[in-house]
């Protein structure tokens, strides 16, 4: 594995889901994902209440950002309304669990289904438009969802939102040693981590599949992809639906986690926030968006400790990213790594 020096001619030629330092046998042999998963699972025991709260936030944001990156990084579609699917998922799950008192096992899949269906309908129209118009139409759809959430008092609770969404029932977990003694919120945390790990594994599989390769081809050169016989719109729509479905799952978990669903969750500026996560971590990498989610949630918590001007810092971080490190955190590390290896070899 010595001939790894991929001389990429442009940023666009970087394959999504690249592994950092893939030439180094030691680092690549460590099962990083398993370690992170086990660490995440142990947070309720070793981290205390507040860290569990942060970890849950990070996990949900990570899934949300990865689902967006399936469009942004993998397929090259700039969606400025991804929060719509997150919101649909949150409202579907919240309404089913609170208003209709259905169990989580029904409400959670329904949330993904609802978000996926809405993504199918809205995406059908969006993928017909090019670049900037695509971004605008996704924004328009997300604002439609916002308007419905904000005004349809009977169903969504309007500007009061849907407070006090119940936790799922954890009776089954109470019979398991170790898990039975936990607080309900910690039990929900473990369920969240498990569901998100499964979701990430599925998305990872999709990105690495032949289907995912076609998406990357479309991102790099849609004309050529069409020329070799790929139905570009069909693939884009499929990516849109998958991304929407997983955003819906993330939203469903978030609604229960934050004990309520509010119209604010669906406002257009939230779409920008999740986009910042994806870019901060590095949208050319599968693990970029989760790292971005981790960095942003952690920074937010550190900075809001001593100032209320978090948006100012977020804007400044974004400026530094756009002008200094367009590849994000992982992109920066990767560049550094390549340079180190080159000097070592020379």
């Amino acid at each position: 594995m010595t001939s790894e020096s991929t001389t990429t001619t442009s940023a666009a030629a970087v394959p999504a889901g690249r592994v950092i330092g893939s030439g180094s046998s030691v680092i690549s042999r460590i099962p990083w994902t398993l370690i992170v998963f086990l660490l995440a699972c142990s947070v309720p025991w070793i981290g205390g209440r507040y860290n569990t709260f942060l970890a849950e936030q990070i996990a949900i944001d990570a899934l949300f950002a990865v689902s967006l990156n399936l469009l942004l990084g993998t397929t090259g579609l700039v969606s400025f309304g991804h929060v719509a699917y997150f919101g649909v998922g949150a409202y579907v799950c919240g309404i089913l669990m609170k208003t209709y008192e259905l169990p989580f096992a029904i409400a959670f899949p329904a949330a993904g289904l609802g978000a996926g269906l809405f993504a199918l309908v809205s995406g059908y129209f969006c993928v017909r438009l090019i670049k900037l118009y695509f971004a605008m139409l996704t924004l328009a759809f997300s604002q439609i969802i916002w308007a419905i959430a904000y005004k349809w008092n009977d169903v969504t609770g309007g500007d009061q939102g849907l407070p006090e969404i119940p936790f799922p029932s954890f009776d089954w977990m109470n019979h398991i040693p170790w898990l039975g003694d936990l607080k309900t919120s910690d039990q929900f945390y473990l369920l969240t981590v498990f569901l998100i790990a499964v979701s990430l594994a599925i998305i990872h599989r999709i990105v690495r599949s032949p289907f995912g390769r076609v998406l990357t081809t479309i991102r790099d050169n849609p004309e050529r992809a069409a020329f070799i016989g790929v139905n570009v719109r069909m693939y884009q729509l499929a990516a849109f639906v998958v991304a929407g479905t997983f955003a819906g799952f993330a939203g469903a978990l978030y609604g229960i986690f934050s004990r309520g669903v509010f119209a604010d969750y669906v406002f257009w500026s939230k779409s920008a926030e999740v986009m910042i996560m994806a870019i901060l971590g590095g949208m050319d990498y599968f693990w970029g968006p989760p790292i971005g989610a981790f960095a942003l949630v952690w920074l937010n918590q550190e900075i809001t400790d001593y100032t209320q001007y978090w948006p100012f810092f977020l804007g400044t971080i974004l400026l530094v990213l756009l002008f200094g490190f367009p590849g994000g955190i992982l992109g920066g590390i990767d560049t550094l790594w390549q340079r180190l290896r080159r000097t070592r070899r020379a």
Partner: protein, 292 residues
């Protein structure tokens, strides 16, 4: 009775429309030339409102102070626009639209907090200049004179803008830059200066509209992200980059919102977003725009 009610509803819609036109015209101008949605346009508008309030405090609370404050707002935001364009925006023209969108969003975050830091979070207000205070009764409905003033300002700006763009040497250059930036540069024109100029004009319009809205609406944090969505809808309906498109787009928006409340109360917000989505689906370049 019913007729006067409909009339006042119509006039209410028209007032909203003309305010939005002032704001949206600048957004549309920048999009037409630079192909960038400037999310920070709403922040420029908000800064205009705060600057106007500040100006009124400095100069004179009543009388001519308001007009001086409005000029200050337009000039101040114009200068800010020049700085932003020269220092940052310039280096993003060649990049993907994702980076341009996010850059303007970074400005939204930074300027929003800057305004909070400078002027606090309490609602501020400015009283109507005495010349335009009071109201008149037309067809049995009471209309504040200030609203009528706004209704004349809107068309005046539309006509002036159209004349400058279509009947002057500067306008010819601008339209040429819109069509083919590189060719215009190759012919020896200073394209960079045209871009800066357009961005400054757009910022001035945002600052001015922010100042002019103060007698009617309170100045609060968050007005930036709320207004940008509305301005955005107007521009999408009318057609990005077309001044009359933006004008009619704002009239349609104002009236749909105003009469939508009568037909389905609570869902008028939904109706304007739905209208925007339908127009993007059927005619992405808007009712009056041309395909890119």
């Amino acid at each position: 009775m019913a007729a006067s009610f409909l009339f006042s509803q119509f006039m209410g819609g028209l007032t909203t429309a003309m305010f939005l036109f002032l704001i949206a015209s600048g957004l549309s101008l920048v999009f037409g030339i630079m192909r960038v949605i400037n999310f920070a346009h709403g922040s420029f508008y908000m800064l205009g409102a705060y600057l106007a309030w500040q100006g009124v405090q400095w100069f004179h609370p009543t009388g001519a102070g308001f007009w001086a404050a409005a000029l200050l707002a337009a000039a101040g935001v114009g200068i800010l626009g020049a700085v932003v364009e020269r220092l940052f925006f310039r280096s993003l023209y060649g990049r993907e639209e994702l980076y341009q969108l996010l850059f303007t969003y970074a400005l939204v975050l930074i300027l929003g907090d800057a305004a909070k830091y400078l002027w606090g979070t309490d609602q501020l207000s400015v009283s109507t200049p005495p010349v335009l205070a009071g109201s008149v009764v037309i067809f049995g409905s009471t209309q504040p004179i200030y609203n009528l003033f706004m209704m004349t300002i809107g068309p005046v700006i539309a006509v002036v803008g159209w004349l400058v763009l279509n009947r002057s040497g500067v306008g010819r250059m601008v339209r040429a830059a819109q069509m083919d930036r590189e060719m215009l540069g190759a012919l020896g024109a200073n394209v960079g200066r045209i871009y800066t100029g357009m961005f400054v004009v757009s910022s001035c319009l945002a600052g001015l509209s922010g100042a002019l809205v103060t007698p009617i609406q309170g100045i609060v944090p968050g007005m930036d992200v709320l207004i940008i969505v509305q301005a955005f809808i107007v521009v999408v309906i009318g057609g990005m980059g077309s001044i009359w498109g933006t004008f009619w787009g704002s009239v349609i928006y104002g009236e749909v919102l105003s009469f939508g409340i009568l037909i389905f109360p609570g869902f008028s917000l939904f109706s304007v977003f739905a209208l925007m989505a339908v127009i993007l689906i059927v005619r992405p370049w808007g009712l009056f725009g041309r395909p890119l």
